[in-house]
Symmetry: C2
Subunit: 310 residues, 2 copies
């Protein structure tokens, strides 16, 4: 973690262009284009046994999720691919085709390389989206805003735990781990009203902490309010430990937004049917994340979520 | 090679958007923006012992070279980075800073991940450039055009051979391998006149073959005309074997252009001082590359250059 933080601080010092948004965001802005790049590695972001189709689907979803979090609509992607064996590569192309079709997004180009034999594969995707009228960053949250979430938490982390116990497991939690969904329509509904927005990729607590730090506010987060799926509750229960697991698991790709008072109705009108918008806390003066469980203070967990250890 | 060709054929079938240029190019075009993505891997595109600064310089140069080959001017990059140890990461940031400053190019964003312990690192870079009035592709070459080159051939491959024999070696060939240069100004001078253009990354013969295939023409290439550096000749000599080595080595990042008759003077007027524009052959009716050595036919070498073996 220290290594990553130091490295990113070094990069931030380089990223002085306005388009880089001070590196406090997952995207860059060039005119009305929103650009983002994500990388996933075998054995880190997906399991060696995951089907190639689902690896392609996950790569597309996690990258487009950064566009969703800015209210942008995907235009196209550039793929960085490491060749594997022919069957895997073919299946990956099939999964890529399906995923891009789902988001009405074009493959524009990329690069293909071979790795030394036996090396874990690393896949990169750059996504370009068209910005809406407003592109919320992480830094615009204000004390008094509500903290809202669209999507459920913990499903992916629960699915990973299931797979680690039984590599042949299947079901909705495994699907949540293997095939997250980028919430493009939901992001478009939130962006015009959100004072700050991001996707939850490394875990709610760590990502909310980043929004709070960028916005120079504190946050009160209510564990009892976190939206959990029926599949999650069936697998992990619904007690405080389960909710802390959901708050720190990561790989969720839910959308986290700071919404000023009085904007909820507008957002609800624009959300696609079936989308659940849930208030999980509020932005307050101060700094850091204060956790509570329906009012009772909760000690923050030792690890707030997923950080990359070198 | 078969694996890569099949994989790329599968991707081409997906890349139906006009911006993808039919996948017959190293870049995508969105409005007046030119986008490209390159990946390099430890032990494949650079040596584990190469200094981190030079790995950053090479990553930037090989990616921006694709913009140069379209006559575009770099605007910014997104970095996909795999954390290593702190010292290497710090040195990489220093090299990245210097390389981006050299090209007046901004760091706009990216992603940082950790790899499993001991995995060879994979680095990705997406570059965005501003297109000039004309963005030559690979497919516009016509029989009767001259085949021209800016830059020398073989230096990088010769430098790699030197390093493989002695990891502590230094000198201009090693520098050519470790720190190629993207010929931005040269590309801007060529692009308005070129009927087809690309950079030489996998070796002259293979890349010229790609231009010939995309343009549906043949090419006659004169080995005797290939521009070699003094350092290259001092190391490898100047006979036919040396020239075949230079024609197939790859990692050159010279610019290869098809120029219609009568355009040479205009190009020379725009080239930066010191740039050498050399005619190495011509485009002819037919297909494939016909090699000759000052008129005498030469058998094509067994391997035309660098292709990725899965």
């Amino acid at each position: 973690m220290t290594g990553e933080l130091e490295f990113i601080a070094g990069l931030r010092a380089l990223a002085t262009a306005g388009a880089a948004r001070g590196f406090d965001d997952d995207v860059a802005l060039l005119g009305d284009l929103v650009l983002t790049h994500d990388m996933i590695a075998e054995g880190v972001h997906y399991l060696p046994g995951d089907p190639a189709e689902s690896v392609a689907a996950k790569l597309v979803a996690v990258t487009l999720s950064d566009l969703a979090a800015k209210g942008a609509v995907p235009i196209g992607v550039l793929l960085g691919y490491c060749l594997c064996d022919g069957a895997w590569d073919r299946a990956f192309v099939g999964g890529l085709r399906a995923a891009l079709a789902e988001y009405d997004c074009a493959l524009l180009g990329g690069d293909t390389i071979a790795l030394p034999h036996g090396a874990p594969r690393v896949l990169g995707l750059t996504a370009i989206g068209r910005a809406g009228a407003r592109v919320p960053d992480r830094a615009g949250g204000r004390a008094g805003d509500g903290l809202w979430l669209v999507g459920t938490l913990g499903d992916s982390a629960a699915g990973l735990a299931v797979l680690l116990a039984d590599a042949t497991a299947s079901g909705p939690l495994v699907e949540a781990y293997r095939r997250p969904r980028a919430m493009i329509a939901e992001g478009r509904a939130l962006a015009p009203q959100a004072s700050a927005m991001m996707d939850v990729s490394d875990g709610l607590l760590i990502d909310a902490g980043r929004m709070a730090a960028a916005s120079k506010v504190g946050m009160a987060v209510d564990l009892a309010a976190l939206p959990l799926s029926a599949a999650f509750i069936a697998q992990r229960g619904n007690d405080r430990a389960a909710r802390l697991f959901a708050a720190t698991g990561g790989d969720d790709y839910a959308l986290l937004a700071a919404l000023p008072p009085g904007t909820e109705a507008m957002v609800r009108k624009s959300l696609p049917s079936g989308a659940q918008l849930v208030r999980i806390g509020e932005l307050v003066a101060g700094a850091g994340i204060a956790l509570h469980d329906a009012g009772a203070p909760v000690e923050p967990p030792e690890s707030p979520g997923y950080e990359h250890h070198a």
